[in-house]
Structures are given as C-alpha cells and as structure tokens.
Symmetry: C2
Subunit: 318 residues, 2 copies
C-alpha cells in the first residue's frame, strides 16, 4: 500500500491554490501560558470545511476527458458540499448521495452549488453512489479513502508547518481519517519533534480502539457511532487511512458530548468563530484534557462550521 | 494639517506585524455575480477588532522612556481592549476610561489584559482620561484622532490592496473615522480606480451629513447617536479624520437598524463569523443597498466581533 508523501502534499498545495483559502493561524490570548494555542480555522473555507482541499485536489488530478463526464460523491455532508463546489469550479456535473440524517443546512448548501442531490438511508449511500457512477460514467470521489483526497487534506498540515515551524502538538478531528492522515504526513516530515494527536467523540471512539488493537476495530456499529452530536465524525478509517494513522499518529483523545457542546459557544465567544460540533472537538480536548497533552505550542484544527441554525441557538443557550 | 501617507502606512505595517493578524480575504460564494464579495474579517484579531492595529502602532511609536510611564485611553470598548492588549505586549501599565453604557463583555476583556478600568458617564470620558494622563505622566492614546492611530488602521487597506489589487469597491464602517481614513489613504494610493465607501447607521448618520455640508455637522447629539445598536459607531469624525474623508472617501451608505440586526445572523450562517452590529454594517450595506454600489470586486471590512452573548442569542432568534 502506497502512503502519501510530503511531495504529494506539496504538489497538491499548488493545484488547490485557486480554490482553497490559505487559512491563518489565529493566536488565542486566553490560552495556557505553558501551552499557547493557535486555531486553524478551516470553517472559513468557501464551503465551510477543510473538505474542499481534498475534493478540489481529487478533481484537479482527473484527466480532463474523465473529469468532463462528471463526479459522484457520498458523504455525511461537508464532503458533499466540497465536491459540488469543486465540480462547479471546473464546470462539470456533480451527483451527491447523502444519508437521510444529514442536516438540512448541508443539503441546501450542496444544492446551491448546482449539484443533483440523492437522499438515501445511511447504509445505502456507498452502494447508491457506486451505482450512479457506473450508470453515468462519472468518477466516484471518495470522502477519505483515496491518496489524492488525503494529499489535499494534508495541505492543512503543510500550512501549519510553514506558519509555526516550532509547533509541538497538532490536534486533529478523526472520523474516516483523511484529514489526520494528510496532516500527519506533512507535520512528521517538516516538524519531526511535533506530535499529531487525534480527537474523537467518546461515543464514536473507534479510532482509539483500533490503534490500541493494531488493527481496525469492528466493535463500533454505525448505530453506536450515530449517537454523537458530532455528525461529521461518525465514519471509520479505511485500510488506507488506518495505515497512515498507525505509522504517524501519536495518540487519540476522546471527548464527551457535554464538552463538545460547550466548545461550540466557547469558540463563538472567545474566537468569534462558528464551528460545528465536529469542528469543535479539538478545542474541547484542549480545554478539558490538558493533562493528556504535551506542553508547548499547540494548534487545534477547527475543521468545519456547518450546523443548523436551530442547533447553534440551542448550544448558545446552554 | 498633515494627512497620513502610504509611506506612513507601510512603516506601520512593519511595526505592527508582531501583534497583528494579517487577516485573509474570505471569498463569499453567495455573492452577486456582477459584484463578487470578499470579507476582511478583523473580528479575528486577538482583541476581536481592527483597533489593535492603531493602538499597537501608537504604542510602538512612543519613545521607550515615555512608553514605560504607561498609557491611558478612553473608548466605547474595542479601542480600550486594544490599548490594554498592546500595553500588556509592551509590558507597560494601562488605564482605560469607558462609558458606563459599554457592554460588559468588552469591560471584562479589557480587565483580562491587566488594565485598570474606570467607568464614567459618556460625556466625561475624555476629560477623565486627560486628567488621569496628567496625574500619572502617562500618554493618552486617542481612539482615532492621531496620525499614528490612523496609519495603523490603514494597514487594513494595505493588505486589501496587496491581496486583491483589482478591487473596485471597499466598504468600511464609519464612526470617528480612523479606520476609513487609513484605509482610504492606502486604497487610493495603490488602487486608484477603486472607490472607498463608508457605512454608518441611519440613526448616527453624521458623517454623511458632514460630507454633504463640506464641514463637520453638529446636528447629531450624543443622545441621538446613542440610539443605534451599533455601539462602536456612535462617535463623530475629528478635524483630522474629516480632512482625510473629505479628500479620499467616495460616498457614505446609511443602513437601517433592521438591516444591521439581520446582518449579524447572516454572517454567522453564511460565513461562520461572529460580528458585532458595528462590524456587520458593511454586509448590511452590501445586502440591502446594491443599487448604491458600483459593480466589480467588492471588499466589506468586518471590523469587530465583540458582543454580549445575550445580544447574539437575541439576534439569532429574530
């Protein structure tokens, strides 16, 4: 199995530059003195999440005669928007298959980019996407299980390494593992003293269990993982992303639902950022699990900011 | 009267770099096709507002033997936080005089930076600040009526010109006029085809009246201006900032209270940014006064993001 390299990520950075915001590191004046914190606000991307990096890169890497036939994606939401937006930028058709539990704000945003959206039961989304891809001759863009997608997400890590070369800890949300795999490749190549630590909901803590076991765990059913409010963190790593994580990730922190819910208003009031629960888990880890984190300069990746207005109001009222 | 020059602003940019975030321009996928929009999110600065630029620059320009005696500021809030934060960065004492109508969140944030805060009736804030400055031998840092403050705020315009050289319209909130004066100097020097348009609340539309009259208007009492929810836009230009505006600003758009209130949740849901009402007026102008704006690439400066949590919840519920 070929793992992504830092050269892949550097090449991806050049390809995605026209469509991806180079997000700044935001210093947090309210951080610990011995563990200064910067946020990497991927919620400020045009689609509201880091997913635009991998999706745009995957489309950019398709031969033009293939790309023009269109793309298909299945996703819990942000990848859907990202593929739809990338397809619009390239002027090619996109079909998106989303589970019927997806927040409406994400479906509306996907449609607003001109994509054809199919809503299906969560267990059928991959098979439906494969069927549509076959039927139309279009290319399936997987949400994380692809080297081009991982290399695109890795540009987050490349930017962190360029902007804060003496970073000691990078906190990254973990779901399917595309983001943390790419970030870990970049950080380990460029900042060998830094640790890359994943964060996942305690209610969907399959990655930690798998890393402890040394193989992908199968004890976390989709129904179990669906309990967390962090709807973007309910997927499981693939063989490809798990291989990256086993080699490169230093640890996983699990955060409670209460801490995730509190991190959303914390970011609103302290950093003027709107993050979705999945995007706020790294801040939840920083605020509540400091004893599990090494000292030194810390970056928390805030991975996305798409949440239903009603949920945001609910979380702000708690 | 000496006006600020582009050389002053370039020098300021070098001096403020250690403390000021170089904010990115955020493209807005939901903008008009004939008037594409980028946001300049100054609410992401460490103190939550552009004011850090002018305040840090003013302190940086003081001779060290003067700076160590400390600084004094009077402000409706964000300038207070900015001076307190800049003083902490330089390790010198700060005394801040704020009107008793200042939102608690701004007072708490100012104290959290180690400043001594004095709360007084709004009409007394300048006299109290001058008294404290005289009593302690410390330097008064005015919120806008100073070339160093204007040059610092002008770094916002310098960054816009560098990042989007073919910008056609820059929308800037107007209160005392420090921000728009500095931005206009930079934009007119570097992008001579671009227009700089101020935005103010219709309930505090003194700048438009003054520009029409060709002299500073006196028909807007503090009590009248206090009616707007945009608590950062209740000041009036000084002779110095008015001289800049008369020479360099192309027009003023007035926005209603309803449009200001709606712009705050709009930014939350569409751009994942928390802006205070004063910071959201430019987006209110873009959304509701398109017929008053030229076509072409447009930048809206989102000047700040400090608002009481209760007010944010109220605006999100409307």
């Amino acid at each position: 199995m070929r793992l992504v390299t830092i050269s892949d990520i550097r090449a991806a950075a050049a390809l995605v530059a026209p469509a991806v915001l180079r997000t700044p590191l935001l210093p947090c004046p309210w951080a610990d003195d011995d563990r200064p914190l910067w946020l990497k606000p991927e919620n400020l991307q045009p689609v509201g999440a880091f997913k635009i990096r991998g999706a745009f890169h995957a489309l950019a890497r398709l031969p033009e005669e293939v790309r023009v036939l269109g793309v298909v994606a299945y996703s819990s939401g942000n990848h859907a928007q990202a593929v739809a937006y990338a397809a619009k930028r390239f002027g090619v058709p996109a079909v998106i298959v989303v589970p019927d539990t997806t927040p409406r704000v994400k479906i509306d945003a996907t449609r607003s980019h001109g994509a054809e959206v199919h809503t299906v039961p969560v267990a059928e989304r991959e098979s439906r996407a494969r069927y549509l891809s076959h039927q139309r001759g279009s290319t399936l863009i997987p949400p994380f299980d692809h080297v081009d997608v991982i290399a695109g997400q890795g540009t987050v890590g490349l930017e962190i390494a360029e902007d804060l070369p003496d970073v000691r800890t990078v906190l990254v949300p973990v779901s399917g593992g595309g983001l943390i795999s790419g970030v870990a490749v970049a950080i380990k190549a460029l900042c060998p003293d830094a640790r890359v630590i994943g964060v996942e909901p305690a209610l969907a803590a399959d990655a930690a269990e798998s890393l402890r076991a040394g193989r992908r765990s199968s004890s976390w059913s989709p129904a179990l993982r669906a309990r967390t409010i962090a709807d973007g963190l309910r997927a499981e790593p693939s063989e490809l992303t798990f291989a990256h994580m086993r080699e490169l990730v230093d640890g996983i922190v699990a955060v409670s639902e209460a801490d995730i819910r509190a991190a959303v208003p914390w970011l609103v009031h302290n950093s003027r950022l709107v993050a979705e629960p999945s995007g706020a888990v790294t801040v939840a880890a920083y605020l509540n699990h400091r004893d599990e984190l090494p000292p030194g300069r810390t970056v928390a990746v805030v991975s996305g900011g798409n949440l239903d207005p009603a949920l945001l109001s609910e979380l702000l009222a708690e």
